[in-house]
Every structure is written in structure tokens, then in C-alpha cells.
Symmetry: C2
Subunit: 128 residues, 2 copies
């Protein structure tokens, strides 16, 4: 299936926002810490931290912040701006698919069939 | 200015199509050869050839083909499918911008002002 991924270049274009960073934000919201989110995605903590730090520096206010209290004694939570980013990114994905879905289907119809490594079906009527 | 780039994952997603490959196709159409197109984009010939080869293998028919004759004694030209790819990609870019332009503007309004290295304007009234 032919599909599209959005990559948003923010402001003066040093900062990128795509499905990967959005998924990381969602995982932080779900797990309550960057390290647990990184683990859930099979991503190195340092890499996750850098992605989040990049987003935090990009906007006029942070997208994640330290949370205090709770059983784990403090972690990381999504700010209202972070929540908005997640919502808006998915809304943009949906709007884009609606806008160009027919083009994607038209391209898909012209894509070559994948080369199959399995052997072709045998003509049983000729066997024996 | 916050903007979007489309990356299309074609068919079973081994093959990608984005603004870079489309620009290369356009340059081949303009210059009539892969080497001249690569040169015009400051791209290594081998890299350009690989990008084109990837697209040619991706679709059920090629996007560029050898052209015979002409002063240069043969080069490369865009096939009708290649032309369609260029047209359709730009149409998808326009449709996407229309569909999510307001979201991009809303994000742009929240991007932090870039750190300026230039010195702030001096208060002339206090000079001397």
C-alpha cells in the first residue's frame, strides 16, 4: 500500500517534526518518563532525550516537563502544548490522506508487483 | 516559515518518493541527461543514477529512458510516466498545503524566535 508521511519543518527549518517524534511524545505521556518511553520503542535513552530536547527548544514553551510526586517519585509529563502537538499532527495526517488519497491510489496502481522469491505455482494437471 | 515536505512510500514501502527525486527528474527533463542533471544539482553522478534506477525499478514501467539522436548523440529523457509523477507530486504538495495550511500557521505561531547573533539595535538617543 502506498502511503504518505509528513515531515514538518518548523520555523526557520532547523527543527523537524515527523511521526517518530510524535510517537515518542505519546509514549512519554503513556509511560510517564523518557526512559520508559524510549525502552517501549526500542530506542536509546540518549537519542530519545535529544529528540525531546530538540522539540522543547523549538517552541516558545516546552512540550514535556518534569512531573513531581507519584509513586515513581517524579518523571516526565506532556505539557498542554505537547498534547496539542500530538493532536494537531494526527489531524494533519488525516487531512492530508483525505486530500491526496486518490493520488496515492493512482500511484499505487502503477507500482511494480514485488519480485517474489517463492517458486511459481505448479501446473498440477501435468504432474505425473 | 513552517512548511511541510511529503515523503511517499510506494507499494510495499521499500521505495520512497520525495521532493529530491522529483527535482532530479525535472532536471533530467531540462538537461536531457542524468550527468548534466546531477551537475546542475551539485549531486554526484553515481548518486543521481541510483535514485533514478530506484524509481525505474519501482514502477511497472520506467520513469526515464535513453533518448537516441540529437546533437549530443543520445541522452536520457523523461517518459510519460515520469512526467505524470512530476505533475502528480506537485499536485499533492499543493493539495496538502491547502488541507493543512492553517495547522502549519498555528504551529508556526508557537515556534520560538530564533536566537539572533547580531547585536541588538543601539539606543541612539543615549549615544555620546
Amino acid at each position: 500500500m502506498t502511503r504518505v508521511r509528513l515531515r514538518i519543518y518548523l520555523g526557520e527549518e532547523e527543527h523537524k517534526l515527523g511521526p517518530g517524534k510524535v510517537q515518542l511524545l505519546e509514549a512519554i505521556g503513556e509511560h510517564g518518563s523518557i526512559s520508559a518511553a524510549a525502552r517501549s520503542m526500542g530506542m536509546a535513552y540518549r537519542h530519545a532525550w535529544e529528540l525531546v530536547n530538540d522539540l522543547n527548544r523549538c517552541f516558545e514553551s516546552p512540550v514535556v516537563a518534569a512531573s513531581s510526586g507519584g509513586r515513581a517519585g517524579g518523571g516526565t509529563e506532556i505539557t498542554p502544548l505537547g498534547e496539542e502537538l500530538i493532536r494537531r499532527f494526527h489531524a494533519m495526517e488525516r487531512a492530508t490522506r483525505r486530500a491526496i488519497g486518490r493520488d496515492l491510489d493512482a500511484l499505487d496502481a502503477k507500482v511494480a508487483a514485488p519480485t517474489r522469491t517463492a517458486s511459481p505455482a505448479k501446473d498440477r494437471s501435468r504432474a505425473r
